[in-house]
Point group: C2
């Protein structure tokens, strides 16, 4: 366990020591802390050492010059100059929110970006500004098509956030049933993967974690829905930005840490009171969430709104965030390499 | 089998005979023919007798006055005056496309609407105008939450269409695994429902079609994803328009045919060349779809893009559309009631 403030200071110090400019340091640490605070640990501070390695390698630009272009009233295209994906996505969402203030809706297509971590962080940024947010990207291919036997799509997340009383409604899903790092976890634990989530090299679903060569799209027998949703992410993030399709993206953890990965992304903000008066909208969300949380659960079950689990974790982690041993080791290496004060483990 | 042109003439004649104005007749017949041409028969001409009953009953306004309002550059709110849902949704999408021509993106929130049939029809209307389209609505509650034991959401569709060489990429999904009329079909066939699609009155999944009291959200063990997607539909269509939440909507086939159902809907159009030059976008879609259709299938499997199945059915049905016996009977009643020439069955 580490104190959240101390953790964030360490993350920032390491990024700065690696030469990241202030905007990159702010955005990358904000996105990683989103993951670590809300319990999305796969996209939390465990990525710090990786991000620094790709900045040192040159894949990610430590001091990018972001350029927006637009000839239309409510949209913009952002060339992120191979920035850290979090900087590109937060900057894109800031612009989308600004556009939505006057146009009612704003959308930004992002090109020349890189791994952006938790999609929900950027949707949430819109909700924090009183807007409905949507963020998506594609990623290197791990997921087969419905009836396919080829890694075609990335885990291609779709994330939405909606302002609500208390914490925002926050929905951040991969369009595969599970992420690939879950398969690695099952392998190390020696347990089976859940039915309909992983497939062997012939595209046939298997329960054997070691035989999993690709992920199944969300939906199992109805995987055409998960595959179609992955297509939504692919078209909005890669086709609409002219960037790489999932199967053409260099692997995140490949040997090459110098070639920019040319990722696309897409962010959207809607201003609720451009559609309906603010009180009606707020009352609708209040009523929807109250009814949802009070609705009959099945025996031993618990009904939650999207985000409720994450906000509960965030409340638990106010005083301390757990770190896995591999991440602690990596932090030790970073502290030694850059001569940083090491992080106090509580 | 009936000839498509003759079928459309009959549908139009019946709507006109029931007193629908020209705009309602055009929109409702276009939406039903979308369903019947593309093989989405649950939302095809089988709905004609139902639609006429609710126009005669007064629930749906046969000659509505649609009013748009907007104080923002890229969005509008449409009060549909209890129009047929197809008229409201097509008019909304026309407006969204018009807004997107100058703003790059356009969105319309629709209030005081009614059952709109196939969501894909309205997304497709955007693609036919060279835009990316999105359409959604909520509907009366049939679907439990993840770990829930209560009909909370409707089957809440999400539909996207993207212009592409040949036919558009067309993805129209319910956020439940299957629609409720599929359960009725399994009952009449005496077969089991697929695992993870239907639940008993305690919210426990069952294979017994007769025991199914509610639908499961898409995703089975990962049903929090399907439930979250249903929430996206609910928030965009009902909360953003101030209309009824799914569990408050009067049943479509209830005895009351006179009270307007106060449904909301939401449509969005994006102009691709506001984000990236047209050639790059078109080339990206061509490359994406070619790679998808050529990618390795699993043994005895077939890989298809969203919409490919529907476009294949449409090609088969160019010369004749099959009608089920119940629909043929209903058409007979309508022909007799309104003194229409009966439809030639091929």
């Amino acid at each position: 366990m580490v104190a959240p403030d101390a953790l964030e200071r360490f993350v920032r110090a390491a990024l700065e020591a690696a030469g990241a400019d202030a905007a990159t340091t702010n955005a990358a640490s904000r996105a990683m802390m989103h993951g670590s605070r809300l319990g999305v640990d796969s996209h939390g501070v465990r990525l710090l050492e990786h991000y620094i390695s790709v900045m040192e390698g040159g894949r990610v630009n430590k001091a990018p010059k972001l350029r927006f272009s637009s000839g239309f009233g409510a949209v913009a295209a952002l060339d992120a100059d191979h920035a850290h994906g979090a900087l590109a996505a937060y900057a894109g969402m800031d612009k989308a929110v600004e556009l939505a203030r006057t146009a009612g809706i704003g959308a930004v297509s992002i090109r020349n970006s890189s791994h952006f971590g938790p999609a929900g962080a950027y949707a949430l940024a819109a909700a924090e500004a009183g807007m409905i947010g949507f963020a998506t990207c594609n990623s290197d291919a791990f997921v087969r098509l419905h009836d396919g036997a080829f890694r075609f799509h990335g885990t291609n997340p779709l994330a939405f956030a909606v302002p609500a009383e208390g914490n925002p409604w926050l929905f951040d899903m991969a369009t595969s049933a599970i992420p690939f790092n879950r398969v690695q976890l099952y392998r190390s634990l020696g347990v089976e993967v859940p039915a309909g989530t992983g497939s062997d090299d012939a595209g046939i679903d298997t329960l054997d974690a070691h035989a999993v060569e690709m992920l199944a799209p969300l939906g199992a027998a109805f995987g055409f829905k998960g595959a179609g949703l992955a297509g939504v992410a692919e078209i909005f993030s890669a086709v609409l930005s002219g960037m790489r399709l999932s199967f053409d993206i260099l692997p995140m953890n490949g040997e090459d840490r110098s070639t920019p990965r040319e990722l696309g992304a897409f962010v959207l903000a809607l201003r609720p009171d451009a559609f309906v008066d603010r009180a009606t909208f707020e009352d609708g969300m209040r009523r929807y969430l109250a009814a949802l949380r009070a609705s009959t659960p099945r025996e031993d079950g618990m009904v939650m709104a999207p985000g409720d689990r994450e906000w509960a974790v965030a409340a638990e982690r106010v005083d301390g965030i757990p770190l896995d041993p591999v991440t602690v080791e990596g932090f030790g290496r970073l502290a030694e390499h850059y001569g940083l004060p090491s992080l106090d483990v509580l």
